[in-house]
């Protein structure tokens, strides 16, 4: 029997039953590898369910830093008889299957290595309480893996101690379970596994966190004082992260009172209404939601756009349409956010690609929204939002000041002869605003979603309304100055073929580009980070004969957006689309592109690329 051998490059997957307490054990393995200095990308593939259905946890470890999801499993820990058949089928030839051999099974695969650990029997012998037995089963396989893969046991003991800080009683039995697994493997499974972790220091200066945790923290750093939200997967943990960090950093030590407000609204309509109301008053406020919530919020988005009120909306995208796949990832709300609401509307979008950017864009979004007096969407997705990513540490410059935009103070108002809320005083399309309560006699106006003139007066004069709409467009067209620029994978464009991608696809991209180069198809790549697009984006498209557009949706929404916003020949774009709800893989991108480029019999377009 051949055995897959690899050091610091592998995929291990855990198949569990939802609600069986496996999540923290699996997380522990990911963290154990991370603390061994090897970059990891754990992915939680979970059902929309609380208890009983199958759930999986995949960890890719890669010292090369290839952290996109990879199909094909090198090591499977199969804990769920319900899903044995599909789990066993996924294992690469020469790979490993660890299962609970308290109940012996035949798996009918001759090309894999089966590792038997009687997890349940071990726990039944050792622990009395049935619930404890169930939970500790997970720790036993952590211990076994520690031995099998040479991940230092001390790292896990340290992790257990950290996890149960304050509940010290629980440390000893957890360590005991870990040791049981370790010792069992040491006694019975010597040389059973050739996939090893070899300690390095590649994660120095790195953190392991998810985008929602980072986004919530970014809101605290960006000065948000109001979070109004409604629970929806996969955005809920962003709001909860904001609350967690506010409880740490925003409670006045003397009075015990909160320098923040955290409101779980009755629905998404109310949550965005509250965020708009707070911003109208000059308190930075946001909401976090996902696709269905965006649909509900669109009327209010149009109001904020037209009345020019800042508001930040986090959309942690999930699989659509409709209720869709709430626990799977997609990039399928590009158009519903870019053009959200009736009438002529266009919105600023920031598209982070990892937790670090979630932190940064969250903090920046409030400056951008205040500066432009318009809604800003931060478009993350489930993969970034809910999975932990190995990414650089968060950074903050203490000299940084918030840009609160064009807000008039009492003194400003005293010095002014006249003022119009929607006058284009600076020629950049951005008017000056006032906050309620600023001045006893000046600066009050009536904010409205109905057509209005430069002085905020209701008008039904079409010419005035058209003038106002044109000014708002001018403001939007200048917005790119304040937005994150695209990132290029190469210093100089060297290929006639370009590739555009965005968001969580980043995880798979470097690996894919390396694969393409190795196959003789070097490609220039650009990651778009915001909308409206800047000149760099159009230049990149201009400079390439053909451009592959990689998206995680069915309808090539980014392509549609680029075609509608830019003067581009549609034939220039070739879409690479993944929309099965699983994070896109490097293999999928590379194979799709190589197939198109190699296929002589396809359309003329492909012919020309050759």
């Amino acid at each position: 029997m051949s055995k897959l051998a690899s050091i610091n490059e592998f995929v291990i997957k855990f198949a569990n039953v939802n609600g069986s307490g496996s999540a923290s054990a699996n997380q522990m393995i990911a963290k154990g590898i991370f603390r061994s200095g090897i970059p990891v990308s754990p992915k939680n593939i979970f059902p929309s369910n609380i208890q009983g259905l199958p759930t999986w946890f995949e960890i890719r470890a890669s010292e090369k830093g290839y952290l996109g999801r990879k199909a094909g499993i090198d090591f499977m820990v199969a804990m769920n008889p319900q899903s044995y058949i599909q789990d066993v089928a996924e294992i690469n030839p020469g790979g490993y299957l660890l299962y609970d051999s308290s109940w012996k099974r035949e798996f009918h695969r001759e090309d894999i290595n089966i590792i038997e650990v009687p997890l349940t029997s071990l726990c039944v012998d050792e622990f009395q309480n049935p619930k404890t037995r169930l939970l500790f089963k997970n720790l036993v396989y952590v211990g076994a893996l520690s031995y099998l893969m040479s991940i230092k046991k001390d790292i896990f003991i340290e992790l257990i101690e950290e996890q149960f800080k304050g509940k010290e009683k629980l440390i000893a039995p957890n360590v005991q379970a870990l040791e049981m697994g370790f010792n069992y493997a040491k006694k019975h499974l010597v040389d059973a596994c050739d996939i090893k972790v070899n300690q390095k220091n590649l994660t120095d200066g790195m953190i392991l966190t998810n985008g929602n945790n980072a986004g919530g923290l970014g809101c605290v750093y960006g000065g948000a004082t109001v979070c109004a939200w409604y629970p929806i997967t996969p955005s809920t943990s962003l709001a909860e992260s904001y609350k967690k960090y506010c409880d740490q950093f925003r409670v006045d030590e003397k009075t015990g009172k909160n320098k923040f407000a955290f409101v779980q609204a009755e629905d998404e309509l109310a949550s965005i209404g509250m965020a708009i109301g707070a911003n109208w008053n000059g308190a930075r406020a946001f909401t976090a939601t996902s696709g269905p919530g965006i649909s509900l919020m669109t009327e209010f988005v149009g109001l904020a756009y037209f009345a020019e009120i800042p508001v930040v909306i986090f959309n942690i995208q999930r699989g659509g349409p409709s209720t869709g796949m709430p626990t799977r990832t997609q990039q399928s709300d590009i158009l519903s956010c870019a053009y959200a609401s009736h009438g002529d509307t266009k919105h600023v979008m920031l598209i982070p690609s990892d937790p670090k950017e979630c932190f940064e864009f969250a903090a920046e979004s409030f400056d951008i929204s205040d500066r432009l007096q318009t809604p800003v969407f931060v478009l993350s997705d489930l993969d970034i939002g809910m999975n932990d990513w190995t990414c650089p540490e968060f950074e903050w410059d203490d000299a940084r000041e918030f840009d609160r935009g064009k807000v008039l103070s009492k003194d400003d108002l005293d010095k002014m002869e006249s003022w119009g809320r929607y006058l284009d005083a600076d020629g950049d399309g951005i008017p000056f605003r006032t906050l309620p309560g600023t001045h006893p006699e000046k600066g009050a106006y009536f904010t409205r979603g109905s057509s209005h003139d430069e002085y905020a007066r209701y008008v039904e004069d079409g010419e005035i309304n058209a003038r106002n709409l044109s000014r708002i467009l001018k403001k939007f067209e200048g917005a790119h100055k304040f937005l994150p620029k695209p990132i290029f994978k190469q210093d100089i464009n060297a290929s006639s073929k370009g590739l555009i991608y965005f968001g969580s696809t980043e995880a798979a991209m470097q690996e894919s580009l390396d694969q393409l180069s190795a196959s003789g198809f070097p490609i220039d790549a650009m990651r778009v980070r915001s909308f409206p697009f800047s000149a760099e984006v159009w230049d990149f498209i201009d400079q390439h004969e053909f451009v592959f557009l990689v998206e995680q949706n069915r309808d090539a929404q980014m392509k549609t957006l680029m075609l509608s916003e830019g003067n581009i020949n549609p034939e220039k774009f070739i879409s690479v689309l993944s929309f099965d709800g699983a994070p896109i893989t490097a293999d999928f991108i590379s194979e799709s592109i190589i197939e198109i480029m190699s296929d002589k019999d396809t359309s003329k377009t492909a012919e020309e690329i050759k």
Partner: protein
């Protein structure tokens, strides 16, 4: 209103309040509602109440939804910021505004379509949250701007202008608000300024959710024989439960209500509400009795008006959320941003 400075010409002998302002200083732009609209009387009552209380207009925020009622905030308090939001969603905007700055006085102006129809959910949750707002419903039982459809407060059996009979039972916003825990619930009639002005003053001084459901006849679409929201019908069926006097802090109580029928209710800031109970058995501090009385009145075809319910003990939304006394929109960058040292600790917790 955004401003272009123009001279304000007042008659020199106009009476002035403690701020040195006249009633005219509390006016708004000229109403575009139909002549005789009940809503204009309510605007006049708001002006009167704010003048009497010597409120600074710039410390008031007036918010509304969509509909005839929601246009009316333009017609009073020119120096107050206004927000004409989307249909039925004023409560959430007001909730957010209040979270941003709880020091302003929030005046919510809505209608029966806006509140009892499209916006009933937001209305209920604002009451439940005890949002500190004076929430006025200009209730005419009809959708005026779209030309006379029944609203959800329209009484069963009441007839439309075109003779159609309303077949559905009405929603009683006042009874519902009491059930939901609103701290202050009153009902009045746009044609009864003597009752409405003190009620408005008390509501504005009350800290918490105060609803005033004001029957405000629609002269164009719902003021005919057969309508239960016409001027004539309300005048004939109005039954006032209490007469109210609002006594600001530091002032002597001068009302000469009969001993035994008087109830004094202290408000949060020390002001006193003095109530004369017009019905012996009525007690506006008794929630159960208030709901029961409303149900009975409805059965008997009466419209109960006055202060229906008050709970001076409640905490408002900002207090429930333990929000700092300094409004959230007034903190500096440094007070809000934890800075790089704390971020280093966060980083350390994530590796």
């Amino acid at each position: 209103m955004t401003y272009i400075i123009k001279p304000v010409n007042h008659h020199p002998n106009l009476e002035k309040n403690a701020l040195g302002l006249t009633r005219r200083d509390y006016e708004g732009t000229i109403s575009t509602l139909c002549a005789g609209c009940g809503h204009d009387s309510i605007s006049a009552a708001v002006i009167e109440a704010c003048y009497d209380l010597s409120l600074a207009s710039d410390q008031i925020a007036k918010l509304s939804g969509i509909g005839c009622s929601s246009k009316s905030p333009s017609y009073f308090l020119n120096q107050a910021h206004g927000f004409n939001s989307v249909h039925g969603r004023m409560p959430s905007v007001a909730t957010g505004a209040n979270l941003g700055n709880q020091d302003l006085l929030y005046l919510g102006v809505s209608g029966d379509g806006d509140t009892a129809g499209i916006g009933i959910g937001q209305f209920m949750h604002a009451a439940r949250r005890q949002l500190n707002i004076t929430y006025i419903v200009e209730n005419n039982g009809t959708y005026g701007l779209t030309k006379g459809q029944f609203s959800a407060t329209n009484d069963q059996g009441s007839k439309s202008k075109y003779g159609e009979e309303n077949v559905l039972a009405p929603i009683d916003l006042a009874a519902m608000a009491i059930q939901l825990g609103a701290g202050f619930v009153g009902r009045s009639f746009s044609g009864d300024k003597d009752q409405l002005v003190p009620l408005l003053k008390a509501a504005m001084k009350f800290k918490g959710f105060s609803l005033i459901d004001i029957i405000s006849p629609c002269v164009t679409f719902n003021n005919h024989v057969g309508s239960t929201k016409s001027y004539d019908h309300i005048r004939e069926h109005n039954e006032s439960v209490s007469s109210l006097d609002f006594v600001p802090i530091g002032q002597e109580i001068k009302t000469s209500y009969n001993e035994g029928s008087k109830v004094d209710v202290p408000l949060h800031d020390g002001a006193i509400l003095t109530l004369e109970k017009l019905s012996k058995k009525y007690n506006p501090l008794d929630k159960g009795l208030a709901v029961q009385s409303l149900n009975e009145a409805e059965k008997n075809g009466k419209v109960l008006t006055g202060l229906l319910y008050i709970n001076p003990e409640i905490k408002d939304h900002a207090e429930i959320l333990n929000i700092s006394d300094t409004p959230l929109n007034q903190f500096s960058d440094k007070e809000l941003c934890p800075g790089s040292n704390k971020l280093a600790k966060v980083n350390a917790s994530l590796n």
